[in-house]
């Protein structure tokens, strides 16, 4: 029979050996569970079939992996984001109603990973599965105008967000983006969404903002049409028209009141046209609407 002292000695020796081996294995332990390659991830539909009624729990598991992956990749300052879209796709295959996952993946794929195609793909998947979740359209709008510089597409998504979410303030964003996109079609779309939003709100402050923006968009549309007519005139005759009345085919003249309540001012030397109330068309100003200046 072994003596107690021998057994204690054996325990201590084994503990020492185990601890030294454990310290030696630390790099491997730290790497375990990390996703380095999207090929390691299983197929969402297969996992769903094999989830035995626990697909939502599995979605949570892979969601935690996604959060961990974003954190690790950001902290490591790596530019390797290959697994982010496959992870988000897997999570949302397992739980197609996981709205927050579409949002977070859509935002980080564009903002951190600069993988705009994948960001749009996951957000579109979300829009197909959760057509009433306005945040997805809003996120797609932000990605389009902020990261891709595509203001028309950004405006279209913002309009959809305003419509789906019944959020009038989003139509202000949509109209700002439409003005930056600076096409007549965009101005018309902006007017439409602002008019719809006016029907949705009875808050005086919001109504005032929307009405002021509507006037601005109408004025800018008119100015845009005038600018185009002036440019066409110049191209045809090699000079600027002497007055707005000289523009054939344009409904506007100097006496025509502009939608902002003033009239159009035209400089025949420079060909510049502006509103007596809102001034020059300045499509790049996307901040909050300033109070209307008094009509001179």
């Amino acid at each position: 029979m072994l003596r107690a002292r021998t057994i204690v000695f054996a325990i201590l020796l084994s503990s020492l050996a185990m601890a030294s081996a454990r310290v030696h294995l630390e790099p491997e332990a730290s790497r375990a569970g990390r996703i380095r390659n999207p090929a390691w991830l299983p197929n969402g539909k297969s996992v769903r079939l094999a989830s035995f009624g626990h697909r939502i729990l599995l979605a949570d598991f892979f969601w935690l992996k996604l959060v961990q992956y974003v954190g690790e990749t950001t902290l490591a300052k790596q530019e390797r984001w290959e697994a982010l879209y496959p992870l988000a796709d897997l999570v949302t295959d397992l739980d197609p109603r996981y709205g927050y996952a579409y949002q977070v993946a859509g935002s980080n794929l564009a903002g951190l990973a600069h993988r705009y195609g994948e960001a749009e793909k996951i957000l579109k998947k979300g829009m197909a599965n959760l057509p009433d979740r306005w945040q997805l359209y809003w996120m797609a709008s932000v990605n389009k105008f902020l990261f891709e510089g595509d203001y028309a597409a950004g405006a279209a998504y913002a309009r959809k967000a305003a419509e789906v979410g019944k959020r009038p303030h989003l139509s202000l964003l949509a109209s700002s983006l439409s003005m930056v996109a600076n096409t007549e079609d965009e101005y018309r779309a902006a007017m439409e969404v602002l008019q719809e939003s006016l029907k949705l709100t009875d808050q005086p402050e919001m109504r005032e903002q929307l009405e002021r923006r509507l006037v601005k968009v109408r004025t800018y549309l008119a100015l845009s049409q005038l600018e185009r007519a002036i440019a066409g005139f110049r191209e045809r005759y090699g000079r600027f028209p002497l007055s707005l009345g000289e523009l054939s085919g344009s409904p506007y003249g100097e006496a025509f009141p502009d939608p902002s309540g003033g009239h159009f001012l035209y400089d025949p030397l420079t060909g510049e046209v502006r509103s007596s109330v809102l001034g020059k068309r300045d499509p790049l100003r996307v901040g909050p609407e300033p109070a209307s200046p008094t009509v001179p």
Binding site: G53, W63, V67, Q68
Partner: protein, 259 residues
């Protein structure tokens, strides 16, 4: 009356099982741990706590139903303790029904304890009782119905095979019930779906338990309101399915040579 006496005795016997307490403790630790796990995510903590709680209740409840259900019958046969009962004016069907009802009462107690601990975790997280909805009650109520079906299969298989095989058969059929509820949608939606496949779906719809219909965890996760009529219909489906299985078990046990 005799059946109820057997059920009461089975409940007392089950409450003395060490295996059940081990599983319940595991489940409770997991449910309580969900509060810690939820800290690992960015947002959506509620769903993590709710999902882990409901899934733990379902998984451990299934294991208790299967292992306890098989043990309650096979032990009676191995130790020949059922002879003493069957020697009295008690039908074999009554014996099986009593065993089943006792097991069901045990499972109901387990689900109640796990649901209360889950509610406590959600209460700690949300700071209110706003989560107690038809979704919460429906999710845990339907888990109990699922367990009733599992227990039915456990008793059926234990009535004619060895304990090991009975556990394997029961877990397989319960797993198949879960998998089928997912697969049938794909099969029916598939454009290549052949006529034979659709017939197979129709047959399996009545043969296999559709565990997806008895699963309202998603309603708990998203706080969906559940229609009372839908809840009652699902509950009735599960309980009548279990009744068929227990009746089959009674039939098998009536013809079994227990010498």
């Amino acid at each position: 009356m005799k059946t109820l006496a057997i059920a009461g005795n089975t409940l007392r016997e089950a409450l003395r099982e060490r295996l059940m307490y081990n599983l319940v403790v595991f489940a409770l630790v997991l449910i309580a741990g969900s509060l810690t796990v939820s800290q690992l995510t960015v947002g959506e903590q509620f769903r993590i706590i709710a999902d882990i709680s409901a899934s733990s209740t379902q998984v451990f409840g299934t294991l208790i139903a299967v292992f306890l259900g098989v043990a309650l019958i096979s032990r009676e046969l191995d130790r020949r303790t059922c002879y003493a009962v069957l020697a009295r004016p008690v039908s074999r069907a009554g014996f099986i029904a009593g065993k089943y009802l006792g097991l069901l009462a045990t499972l109901a107690l387990n689900v109640l304890v796990m649901a209360l601990v889950s509610a406590l975790m959600l209460l700690v997280y949300t700071g209110g009782l706003g989560f107690v909805s038809t979704g919460f009650l429906g999710a845990f109520g339907l888990i109990l119905v699922q367990l009733a079906v599992c227990a039915g299969f456990a008793i059926l298989f234990a009535a004619f095979s060895t304990p090991t095989l009975a556990v394997i058969f029961t877990l397989s059929i319960v797993g198949a019930g879960h998998a089928f509820s997912e697969v049938r949608t794909f099969w029916l939606q598939s454009s290549h779906s052949q006529v034979q496949l659709k017939w197979l779906v129709k047959v399996l719809d009545f043969v296999l338990p559709n565990m997806g219909l008895l699963d309202a965890k998603e309603a708990l996760t998203y706080g969906d309101p559940l229609q009372l009529s839908s809840l009652l219909a699902r509950g009735a489906y599960g309980l009548f399915y279990a009744a068929v299985i227990v009746s089959l078990a009674a039939l098998v046990f009536s013809r079994k040579d227990v010498r």
